[in-house]
């Protein structure tokens, strides 16, 4: 690999992170769910050029419109007239506002007490209204990195756009899902610092109520080197290729400049192989004007204080809590490393056995992957949504703890696990009967007899517990 002297190149880079919040839509009460089924209603619309504040028609807007496109919008029973642009927006979603404020405070930002919800002109069809609603809620924060602070310029709360599902066809399920947009200052002096910044922000986001999974976070990187223009790279949410893409982009820019060419002000998209692909010229500042259908957004001292009280705990605090619950430090480390804290907490609600749940989500997938010779990613994907089902069975006493792993294995293989229903109550009856029939034996002896009958269906640990209770 080529050694790059980032300092000498006057490398400048910043991040723009869009993260969906886990709440209903920002300006209506519709649930934030994505649909795969057939729409219940399809409508066709045209967008036309609008004269800007100074009277001129936006050039980019005019270009798009001159194509005289007809956009098709797919609506569902989970969308309403607001997404169809047939009803004014409702009051801003207070839960989403609260989450966005939490994130802002964790990023050390100052909250803007009075702000105006704006309409940002978007004329590519992805918004039925022709604009995206967005509001500046905080500014002037920072995150600490091992190379020093990286500034957080702005935090915005905005609505997501409709999903494109075909040529000029948009699905309204995503339109209106609340997003926070975080814009950092171009303070990162090298790619590693930038990656560290992204990870730090990601960690803060995930400590709050945000959506998880593919498509719920979108990360863009802005890069420039001495003598060149700013280039925006979209699709940088994959942290595995993050450094490679930046290195490649810096080399691309350097090569252009070294050979006397210009670096275009452009948007590029990160590719899986670590390269980038030209997408379009960098858009100019979008036209913004107020959302006149809504009052000014005022964030009171009281509301901020309330949010401050409800801030999610720091890593150190969480670590302490988990350790008090009896989770080994090894497991705690893995939980953070694999970023499964939220999942862990959720599953713990079903069966309150921290070590069991941790083992189930942290260790078993690896063992299964090794045993079945299937990629860990694949195993995890197949299991992600199923852990709760299996635990539920444990909670109901329908399967024993020892059956968890075999059950997960069959799920990975695409087979629905079949459980011989072993009721722990029945096991207890059996044990009591045995003790009555053959009194005076040792724990171990009873254990041996029972396990002979029930091996694989119930764990030795469970049996010994029952025997001790009965004796």
């Amino acid at each position: 690999m080529v050694e790059i002297d980032y300092e000498k190149l006057k490398f400048k880079a910043g991040l723009e992170i869009h993260q969906q919040l886990d709440s209903h839509k920002l300006f209506c009460e519709c649930p934030s769910v994505l649909r795969k089924d057939k729409p219940t209603l399809v409508i066709r619309r045209k967008l036309h050029p609008v004269a800007g504040e100074s009277g001129e028609v936006d050039v980019a807007a005019l270009y798009q419109s001159s194509l005289n496109r007809v956009y098709e919008y797919q609506a569902y029973d989970t969308t309403c007239l607001v997404e169809l642009d047939e009803e004014p927006p409702h009051m801003i979603n207070q839960e989403a506002l609260k989450i966005a404020l939490q994130i802002s405070l964790l990023l050390n930002c100052k909250i803007i007490p009075i702000s105006q919800i704006m309409r940002k002109t978007v004329i590519d069809g992805s918004n039925t209204s022709g604009f995206q609603r967005t509001v500046l809620i905080a500014r002037g924060g920072f995150v600490e990195t091992s190379f020093g602070r990286v500034g957080i310029r702005y935090v915005y709360l905005e609505e997501d756009a409709a999903r494109i599902v075909g040529e000029n066809v948009f699905r309204l399920d995503r339109l209106g899902i609340p997003l926070v947009e975080i814009v950092t200052a171009p303070d990162a002096k090298n790619p590693i610092q930038l990656k560290e910044t992204a990870l730090k922000i990601g960690e803060i986001l995930r400590s709050c109520k945000v959506k998880r999974g593919i498509g719920t976070i979108r990360q863009d990187v802005n890069i420039s080197i001495m003598g060149g223009n700013r280039v925006e790279i979209k699709g940088m949410q994959d942290m595995d290729i993050f450094l490679k893409v930046i290195e490649n982009e810096v080399l691309r820019q350097k090569k252009l400049l070294d050979s006397g060419n210009l670096v275009g002000m452009e948007t590029r998209t990160a590719q899986k192989d670590g390269s980038t692909k030209y997408t379009r010229p960098l858009p100019g500042a979008a036209r913004m004007y107020p959302e006149t259908d809504l009052p000014l957004l005022k964030i009171s001292r009281d509301f901020i204080n309330e949010v401050k009280k409800s801030l999610p705990k720091s890593k150190t605090e969480v670590r302490k809590e988990l350790s008090e619950k009896g989770l080994s430090s090894e497991m705690i480390k893995l939980l953070f490393k694999q970023n499964k804290l939220e999942q862990f907490k959720e599953l713990l609600k079903i069966v309150n056995k921290p070590n069991l749940v941790a083992k189930m989500i942290l260790i078993y997938p690896k063992e299964i992957s090794k045993h079945l010779k299937i990629d860990l990613d694949v195993v995890e994907k197949r299991l992600e949504e199923r852990f709760s089902d299996v635990l539920q069975k444990v909670a109901e006493g329908k399967i024993s703890e020892s059956q968890i792993k075999p059950a997960l294995e069959s799920i990975v293989l695409g087979k629905e696990p079949e459980f011989e229903s072993v009721d722990l109550g029945e096991v207890e009856e059996k044990i009591q009967k045995l003790i009555k029939e053959k009194p005076g034996l040792s724990e171990k002896a009873y254990m041996g007899l029972i396990m002979k009958e029930l091996r694989g269906k119930v764990s030795g640990k469970e049996v010994i517990e029952i025997i001790r209770r009965c004796l």
Partner: protein, 422 residues
Amino acid sequence: MEAQSGDYVEVQLAKEIYRGVLLESPEPGIVLLKLDSGYNIGFKKKDLLGVKVIERFEKRKEKKFVLRRDPSKSDIAMILTGGTIASRYDPRTGGVDPLDNLENLFKFYPEIFEKVNVAKISAPFMKPSEEMDWRDWKTIARVVCDFLNDPSIKGVVITHGTDTLHYTSAALSFFLRDLNKPVVLTYSQRSVDRASSDANLNLQCAALMAISDVAEVMIVGHASLNDDFCYAMPGTKVRKLHSSKRDAFKVVNSSPLARVFTDRVEILSGFRKRSKGKVRLDAKFEDKVALVKIYPGQDPDILDFYLDKGYKGIVLEVFGLGHLPSFRSRANWARKLKQVIKKGLVVCAAAQTIYGRLDPFVYSTGRDLLKTGMIYLEDMLSETAFVKLGWVLGHKEWAKDMESVRAKMLENFAKELNPRLS
């Protein structure tokens, strides 16, 4: 140097300094600042330690606008009266201002000018339609009349707020006698500053209808949520039936006159043909008329109030086939109606159900009420009935006795009655 809205300023607060364009705020005690990023934020006036002007607002010199007239296209006239369709957002004040000249009109709706020449334009007043009354209907009718009697003008398009648009369309339907050319009212439900505004299609379709052969007063607007075609709807048989949707206006107890695309008109029902004659203005109006909705248990003594206040006529929006609380009820309207009608108050009945025709003969309540002398207005919309009653009573020769009023109220002047409902 006092900072004014539009100026680029530096705002000094206790701990921070912001720069941006100073804007007026919709709320007193608050000033807004447009930051360089385009976002607006607000400050309480009392928190400002100082405001320094960096650059004064400079009004752009707007180029004189010359509209080229295309001799291959027909000339129409436009009347702007206010409402969403004729408003533009003013970035300096943060308010919404009327769009009252050709230049602004062209900026927002260039496509209408591809279909017709907007040869004349008039803005007699600018108000949201909820603030209009019968005097405004008269004013509009007068301007329309002048335009229609100008041989160079092929038709008239009127832009109007939506809230009371169907009252105005009914009024024009009665006020303009011997109609010779199309009179098209149109609107928008979505503000014109957005790329998705329904005004664009509505205006294009309105322009096409204005040069058609349909010499009727009509409302042209979205037929559905799609931006594909509009309906031309008869002015006395149309009602706003949704508070926010693009297709808020629906024909009631009749059918649309035409389906209007941006490039063609498909006629759907019979219409009055364009003619060479002159239109006659007959805008006499008695404003002592009222429209009252009946509700269960309502006290009929409310009629005394109207009588005391000098009202000449009243339209009651009645239940079902034409019913009111009557002889079996604690509030006996039949007796009261008899009294007030005897004293000279004209009382008409229109359907609260919106759709359908009144028929007092089906139930005994109806037959009882019929004896009071109340005029049953068949399938006439209550809003149309209210306008028509004012118009009829405005004519002294018609208002001379109850029987003549009844005859005029039941005479079909502008398709307000439809004997054949389907």
